[in-house]
Symmetry: C2
Subunit: 249 residues, 2 copies
Amino acid sequence: MSGWVAVAGLGPGAGALVTPEVTEALAEATDLVGYAPYVARVADRADLVRHASDNRVELDRAAHALELAAAGRRVVVASSGDPGVFAMASALFEALEAGPRAWRAIDVRVLPGITAMLAAAARAGAPLGHDFCAINLSDNLKPWALIERRLRLAAQADFAMAFYNPRSKARPDGFARVLDLLREECGGDRLILFARAVSTAEEQLRVVTLAEAAPEMADMRTMVIVGSSRTRFIEGAPRPILYTPRWAE
Amino acid sequence: MSGWVAVAGLGPGAGALVTPEVTEALAEATDLVGYAPYVARVADRADLVRHASDNRVELDRAAHALELAAAGRRVVVASSGDPGVFAMASALFEALEAGPRAWRAIDVRVLPGITAMLAAAARAGAPLGHDFCAINLSDNLKPWALIERRLRLAAQADFAMAFYNPRSKARPDGFARVLDLLREECGGDRLILFARAVSTAEEQLRVVTLAEAAPEMADMRTMVIVGSSRTRFIEGAPRPILYTPRWAE
């Protein structure tokens, strides 16, 4: 079997943040599988077959990629950011485990990429410079009670926190509840970064306190980072600088 | 002032994991500052001045980079992995904040890179595919009591956990205590990944249970990832596959 699957991270948007490893896999691929907006980020090539699909069909898409590879095709599954962080890699392995035993012989690679929280952190300074956690705020795949429990424990651990999928039309109230909970656990002075569409032409950064934060500051393209109790804001620089010192007491 | 500082992430080791953005900054730089092994990873160029320094002098190195930029030089500070994750970006901003007010006008950029935990996760499947945290186990810059508290809360939150700097000669017992604590909080069946020197010729991956884990499985070049309660191992594949499903109950 000469087929393979490479689950590839395209990074947050800019071409300059796509690794050479991913560029090479795309050049060798016969098939490109992914959520339509990610497939659209890959330049056209006459002999590349494109399979763009809808959101929320991750398992079908993963199984399709594995079927193609089992038939000898060289398949890139396009993922935004890093495929291993709230993206396609887990879905791929879920489909692999549930599928025919023969699929386990397929050459499957995950090609890492620049994930949204690290791109956002870099643009804003170094808010994740000390211990931190990453939480997906979408309650599509887990109950709200678990999100709430994790947020409280993460605040008590004094982690900086990076939130993926803070807000969507399907969950208009969820993020307001998150902000309320964080104000309760961390106090109103805690710093919070809203980083929208980082590395694209629509990039917008905003640093406020939890007291000032409003749900409307985030949308589906926004990465949210809440500082730890030690996170600092540097005044007087041309761009906002937020950083968490390396040390703690 | 035409000088600048770019704190650049060189990724875990392989050239194919260095972003074009970082490659371009290196091509434009007049000066390269960093811990000697990272400076050594950058190809020589006749007009690039190299300033290699020892470990544990991060603040001096950061101040030196800012001084050079204030004098009009174009300075890359070389960082392994991603500069914002337990690396040089926080030290740079710490030095910036403590230094002369004029430094705040310097053009400082952080160029993200592939951080060790995401490179290791990609090689092993998708162990960080659900909520997770990243903890630096070095107690150089924080007390052991804080590390222990964070580990317990992270285990109670059922995060997958990525550990940087699990073990050093200066702390021979620390990692053994971490493993004991994790066995107590998570039980002996929990999966743990030891990923050494990922993306280099010395790469080694090993997946065991916490009951089987021994401190000697990690050294200074090892990234350790502990799964959540839901992390699964796929049998029968040519390489070990560890993944955490996207959903939770």
